[in-house]
Amino acid sequence: MKHSASSTFAFLFLFLIFTGVLFAQDEPIDSAMVDSVATAVEEMVPVNPPKPAQLDIVQDNPGDAGSSIHVSWILSPDDGAGDNDVTSYIIYRSESPTGPFEAVGSASRGLVEFEDATTTDGIEYYYYVETVAGDDSARSSISRPIKSSAQWFSTKDIDTFIIGLMISLSVIFFIFAAQKGKELYLRKIAGLEAVDEAIGRATEMGRPILFIPGILDMDDVQTVAGITILGRIAKTIANYDTKLNMPVSRSIVMTTARETVKQAYVAAGRPEGYSDDMVHYLTDEQFGYVAAVDGIMVREKPATCFYLGAFFAESLIMAETGNSIGAIQIAGTAMPAQLPFFVAACDYTLIGEELFAASAYLSGEPKQLGSLKGQDIGKMIAMAAILIGCGLFTVASITNSESLLSLANTFRSIFSAS
């Protein structure tokens, strides 16, 4: 395909996707369903009504997707005190100040707010809150009209936005700094130092290398990380002229891995060494896949096994079988639950973040390595936040100082992600 034609095609393609998405409007959500409570309460004759709660703030929920109104009130003076103990509050809504009103929800005593998540955007609603004490009840005055709507920025997420931006910018900054030739120190990672040796060993023994990219599909970033490491490793394998066996459990992973391995062989100058059958599909089923991989292990006796990607319970079945045939095993995953098993049964394990760093390490490209320095800045932010936060809280808690405590709470809430 010609240059211009295909890029036009590509933009058209993206354009289609986004205009398509814009067409997909929300279907209106039908509102209001709780009505049984309302009729029950209206029929009652108040004998000894509690002092009513009064509406405080009734407003559209800010920074949300619409269809929701926030109602808050000032507690009834009888709530938790007085001779008329309040049992609950019932929130009523109508599209007209004169009614009919219907109950849209309730809140236990002591609570002062309610989210009415059943509104239709653009319609004006009126609210009041009823204070219930046993068989008696009293109403607040009716609110002014209020409409719900959707906003273009989720204001509650602004802290998260800023944290994300800071980390992204530091990663990008160091990528560019490294590209310009700034020298970076990187510590050694034992598992990666051993990769060449492990491939060399398979070559010497004349046995194949097994590569397992985990059992999730390309919609998991661990699989993507595993495949990018495969790209680096496959180049070395091509250079050594060793046999690669890569059974997979997802078809898209198969397609992707073939492209990657093929490119690695081309880059190593040995395109004739590549064959599609190096990467082959078995089954999507987790344990069917493991049964087959175990079979391959005991029959072909690979000298080296790589497990890099997202793993579940199959991790130990494979690693123990690999151990029993005496293979050198290098594993890496960001599944915290499986790390202990890889650590116990494999020779080297890339722990969590190290898996994501591996392809950058192996590539040796300055741009890639720069991003690792950016990650370290992220860690520094996290460490500083933890130290400062714990320090503030501890001092506040011991000295019992109100102002310090509120400072600590404010600081902590930056990381609440809501």
Binding site: M1, S7, F13, L14, V21, L22, F23, Q25, D26, G66, A150, S154, D157, V171, I172, I175, D217, M218, V221, V224, A225, T228, L230, R232, R250, S251, I252, T255, T256, E259, T260, K262, Q263, A264, H280, D284, E285, F287, G288, A291, R299, A313, I317, E320, A334, P336, L339, V343, A344, A345, G352, E353, E354, S359, A360, K367, S371, Q375, G378, K379
Partner: protein
């Protein structure tokens, strides 16, 4: 150019999916759901490639009478049996009582449950080798694993309850390890993973990491 277009798609879509988190307004609030549906559809198309590959390799093995070719015959026959039973069943292929369901219950389920269950043996053999007091790190692994294992089962009830203790020392220790030092390690790993993911995602979106796309043919 065959590499540039995919890179553009990756960058644009990636950034759009980051931004959608912060935009509650329609249509951005539907991005995630839509992508999940699309992905399932793409995966359902791609499985044809995988299935054809499995069948092709099995048939070749039988044709060339390679070692153990007989088992490839079983693979092909099982695949066809399941596929035919499934397609014959129509949309309600999983309804209890159908052939598909029978195969699932009596063959598929015991096979997968047993494959999962042999892990019990491997857990024992792996812990035998790994839990050795070789150095500080290995000793900590050993001690933590040992104590938690003791607290998980009835040792408290067997050893300490007869002494009339209310207190369950082994469970308490086990809970303490799980709730504090274990949690600390988990958190460090989790925060590290978050940063690793962010950085990898950025490298992908910026087009620096592109080996998954293969060559430029």
């Amino acid at each position: 150019m065959r590499r540039e277009i995919p890179l553009i798609i990756t960058a644009v879509v990636g950034i759009a999916f980051v931004i959608q988190y912060f935009i509650p307004h329609s249509p951005f609030d539907r991005f995630e759901q839509l992508f999940s549906d699309w992905f399932f559809i793409i995966a359902a198309c791609a499985i044809w490639l995988g299935a054809l590959n499995l069948l092709k390799l099995s048939i070749i093995k039988v044709q060339r009478q390679k070692k153990d070719w007989q088992y490839s015959v079983i693979v092909i026959v099982s695949w066809l049996t399941m596929a035919i039973a499934g397609f014959a069943g129509g949309r309600g292929f999983q309804t209890p009582g159908t052939a598909f369901d029978w195969l699932y219950v009596n063959i598929y389920t015991p096979l997968s449950a047993t494959m999962f269950a042999i892990l019990a043996f491997f857990v024992a053999s792996a812990s035998y080798r790994a839990f050795r007091a070789r150095n500080v790190q290995a000793t900590l692994l050993l001690v933590a694993g040992f104590l938690v294992m003791m607290g998980r089962v009835l040792f408290d009830d067997i050893f300490f309850a007869p002494l009339g203790w209310d207190f369950q020392p082994l469970s308490e220790i086990s809970s303490f390890i799980m709730n504090y030092p274990n949690l600390a390690g988990q958190r460090a790993i989790m925060i590290g993973i978050a940063l690793g993911t962010v950085s990898t995602a950025l490298r992908i979106m910026l087009g620096i990491e592109r080996s998954y796309l293969g060559g430029g043919d």
